[in-house]
Each structure stands twice: as structure tokens, then as C-alpha cells.
Symmetry: C2
Subunit: 210 residues, 2 copies
């Protein structure tokens, strides 16, 4: 689980991103900050794995905050105006990633994962392909071992299709096979019943088709 702290003075963006990232199965937003000072404080108390910092903030701006942290937790810088100027300042402040606020959300998630894995996105020339390597959430052992058919069963569970018969109908297989799939899901996710499977399915983001 990648523990992230987000700093941005615009609360709509702060809280929106926070919820969106938190909903990913491998990312946990442990704190948020609306200014640089609060960011420094949160980093001290929560010791996160990655920082997500807006440049434009009152008092201590994102760059200054990162400078004071000395590149300790690796940081992804987000900015409204992604010019060369800002980019240079980000590099000087030891940022590992640099994204415009016009980037799509999956890119941000990928950047967080890349930086958490120790990569430095400021060096690379082909940002897109590096991010591509980190598009998939880092799932825990069990979840990664799920087969495609098992994921389909989980998707249906998350959609409220819970009885063996209806699952069988939707998947065009026998009830016995449904139970077999469920049994291997239980084993892989270390759970015991459909209710827990439904919870896991939603946590893994299987409810809306990727």
C-alpha cells in the first residue's frame, strides 16, 4: 500500500483527488494539507511514501516546502502552469515527478506508483511509456493471482448478483462451476463468503468495467 500525502490550497481539487486516489486498491491517502506549513507537519507525523504537491500555495509554496524536506519522501509536483520555468524549479527542489493539472487522473496514479517504486520521472524523455508501466494497480499477491473468469464473477457480485443460479445464468455456466470459481476466489483472497468477496471486488475497483 502506497501511503500518500496531498497538498493543494484548492480544497475541491484536494478532496477530489484524495478520494479518487484513495479509492485505488494500492494507494492510501494518509493526510492532506492546504498549505506548505501544514504539509511539513503532516509529513513529520505520518511519514508517507510519496508526496503530491501543488506548486501554487499561500505562504510556503510547494517548491519551498519540498526544498525544506530535502527530497526525503519522493514527491510528485502538480501545477496549473506547466512551463519550463516551473519545471526547472521542481527539479531544483528535488521533485521526482512533474505533472500539469490538465493530465488525466490515471497518469497521476501511474506517476505516484512510479515514484513510489523509486523511479525519477524528471530524467526520462519518454514520460508516456514509463507511466504505461505503472498503469496497473500494484495488487497484493492474492488479487494478482485472480483469473479473468474469477474477476467476472467478482464484477457480478459487486453489481449485486449474488445467488448461484443468477451468476450461472449471467455467465452461461452451471451452478457447480460458479461455486468452483467462488471457492478459488475465497482461497486467493483469504476470505470465506460472497459478502466478503463483494467487498473485495469493490475495493479492487472491479465494479465499473475498466
Amino acid at each position: 500500500m502506497i501511503r500518500v500525502v496531498i497538498a493543494d490550497d484548492h480544497r475541491l481539487l484536494l478532496e477530489g483527488l484524495s478520494q479518487a486516489l484513495d479509492s485505488l486498491p494500492d494507494i492510501s491517502v494518509v493526510a492532506t494539507a492546504e498549505d506548505g506549513a501544514s504539509l511539513l507537519e503532516q509529513v513529520r507525523t505520518t511519514s508517507p511514501d510519496v508526496l503530491l504537491v501543488d506548486i501554487e500555495m499561500p505562504d510556503i509554496d510547494g517548491i519551498e516546502a519540498l526544498r525544506r524536506l530535502g527530497g526525503a519522501p519522493p514527491a510528485v509536483v502538480v501545477t496549473m502552469h506547466a512551463g519550463e520555468d516551473q519545471r526547472r524549479r521542481a527539479i531544483e527542489a528535488d521533485a521526482r515527478g512533474f505533472l500539469s493539472k490538465s493530465s488525466p487522473l490515471p497518469d497521476l496514479a501511474a506517476a505516484v506508483r512510479a515514484v513510489a517504486a523509486g523511479e525519477n520521472l524528471m530524467d526520462v524523455d519518454d514520460l508516456g511509456s514509463v507511466l504505461d508501466h505503472h498503469r496497473q494497480p500494484v495488487l497484493d499477491e492474492g488479487a494478482a493471482a485472480l483469473t479473468e473468469r474469477e474477476r467476472e464473477v467478482l464484477r457480478l457480485l459487486a453489481a449485486g448478483v449474488t445467488s448461484t443460479d443468477e451468476l450461472a445464468d449471467r455467465l452461461f455456466i452451471s451452478g457447480k462451476t460458479v461455486k468452483n470459481h467462488l471457492a478459488s476466489i475465497y482461497e486467493k483472497l483469504a476470505i470465506t463468503d460472497r459478502a466478503q468477496a463483494a467487498v473485495e471486488a469493490i475495493r479492487l475497483g472491479l465494479h465499473h468495467p475498466d
Copy 2:
């Protein structure tokens, strides 16, 4: 269910807000737009109940887009710089709500609900108290009828506590009572088992304590 279209050229905000609002049980984001032209198109094809529009957008800005729509679906205007100037322009474009991007997310949700209910937030002098009236999600009949104890059961289900015995232990009641609570939950939510109850619990936002 309040059907919303969101327009903002900063995709991180657009997608973040979209996910956050969509996760509320009474709000559904049916489309998003990155510019005014696309907004006009989405409004035509999806006929939403409420618009959420950023002022600052390339080509056709939010104000101009609203003007062209003639106040048809009521709109909440969101802006980076919430000055008197912007506010006047929003009023002239027939906006029903006006929020800064520094507002907290629950305020945005409350504004969307208020506007969907026909209120005009531009008139009121005490915005806070009007929003307070719309803090709670507009739950459907069944979900609103849930008792406090029933919500606790749902919370535990969403946390993966699914067996009768463990539920009984956590709630300090007998297994029989757990089953009684579940039975009335099934009736109120028109569902049939714990797996569906877990799905509903998460959909209703019962997994993280309010």
C-alpha cells in the same frame, strides 16, 4: 438520482470531482467536458439535471456556454478566482450557484443538491445555512428508513464482518438479533442476502464513519 454534467479543462479536477461526486449515493455524473463546446454537446445528448461548470475554459468559457444554454439545466459555477466580477458574470449567465475552488467538497455536493431541488443560491445572503439543509444525501425511501442499529450492521458488513457470530460479538447482541436486523435491512433495501447488503452499504457510503 441527480444527473450531473461537469465541465472543467483541468482534467485532474474534472476526473477527481467526477469520481468523488459519483461515489455519493444520490448523485450520478453522466458526462464530463473539457471545454465549452463539448459541454453544449453533452448537455444536448444526456439532458442532465444539474451542470457543474468552471468559468476558466478555452474557446467557449463557462459563462458563455451557460449563456447559450439559457439557464436550461440549472448550473453551479465553480471558479478559481471568486471575485465580485466573476460573480456578476455568473448571475448574468443565469447560474444558480457560485462556488470557489477553495470550497470543501461537501459544500459542492450540497450546492448541487440545492440547485437540483430548484433553489437559487445566488439570491440567498446566508449561503452556509442553505447548504446545511442539503448536507445529507437524498437517500431513496428504503435507505432513509434504516435505523441506527441497522446502519451499524451494514457498516460491519462493509468492513468484511459477515458471519452471524462475529457480527453478534461485535455488536454485543445475540445471533438471533443480528438475523432480525438483517431481515429488516433486506426488506427496507429490497435485497435478499448479506452480499447484496455489503454492496449497498458501500454504495451508501457507510464504510467510513461519517
